[in-house]
């Protein structure tokens, strides 16, 4: 049996976790000379996770929008912290939806809702 939401939320959580790691990398390397901030594009990465997009979609890309400092580092600590908070909230949202959907599924699977 194919349960759609399990695949979808599995993919979402995988991409969110990968993003969390990349953001942690960016913050860890905020003082590394020559380091360039990286991120994934959520849409393409999720499509790659679910198997209906090019597998290269999950490759991290460089953020090209920020100011580059004299030592070649372009990590903006503030925007990384915002991204981290946003990503954490979205991960929690996905986990909450997954929890609710699973609970609904379990309820539906009970032969007798009264439980006896």
């Amino acid at each position: 049996m194919q349960i759609g939401f399990l695949n979808l939320y599995g993919g979402v959580l995988n991409v969110r976790q990968e993003r969390a790691s990349l953001i942690a990398d960016n913050i860890a390397n905020a003082d590394t000379p020559g380091y360039k901030a990286q991120d994934v594009q959520f849409q393409q990465a999720l499509a790659a996770q679910l198997g209906d997009g090019p597998a290269s979609g999950s490759a991290p890309l460089f953020r090209a929008s920020d100011t580059v400092s004299l030592d070649g580092n372009d990590v903006s600590m503030d925007s990384e912290r915002v991204e981290a908070a946003q990503n954490a909230d979205q991960t929690e949202a996905a986990a909450t939806f997954l929890h609710q959907s699973t609970a609904d599924l379990i309820t539906a699977l009970h032969p007798n809702p009264a439980g006896n």
Partner: protein, 146 residues
């Protein structure tokens, strides 16, 4: 992919050694050197991106290009080339022939600025750690089916 905890750990480690270097510089800001000996020179820690944690083949078979997620590590320490502080004090036993005492080349102000920067990075890493922990708890509790 290196997990978020090893990345944050490497960051805390690196910022820790940077703060050690700053503490040593500040402690030696007023050190002086006898004529003919080398004065204290400020230590500056240099970071580099480097893979952390266990090797990235997690057995899922997905040849993930993100597998080489770098953490950070200390590449080495360089000594500042700033000129030493010379103070005119002809009565000091360490004064040279012109009456100047050679001090360290530490600039307390720039060390304090560096300390604030390092402290910001440190707290950002700790914030990421707390966030990851909270999200993990949430996901674990979502697997709990009553």
């Amino acid at each position: 992919m290196a997990d978020i905890f090893s990345i944050v750990g490497s960051s805390l480690d690196a910022q820790g050694s940077r703060m050690d270097a700053i503490a040593s510089n500040l402690a030696n800001a007023d050190s002086i050197a006898a004529p003919g000996t080398a004065p204290y020179r400020a230590h500056e820690v240099v970071f580099e991106a480097a893979p952390v944690g266990p090797t990235s083949d997690d057995g899922t078979g997905s040849s993930d290009p993100a597998a080489n997620d770098p953490g950070v590590q200390v590449l080495g320490t360089v000594l500042s080339n700033a000129p030493p502080n010379m103070t005119y004090d002809p009565n000091s036993p360490y004064a040279n022939a012109q009456g100047y005492v050679t001090g360290s080349n530490v600039s307390s102000v720039s060390q304090m600025v560096d300390l604030i920067d390092s402290s910001n990075s440190y707290s950002a890493s700790v914030a990421v750690l707390q966030q990851a922990d909270r999200v993990d708890q949430q996901i674990l509790s979502s697997f709990q089916v009553s």
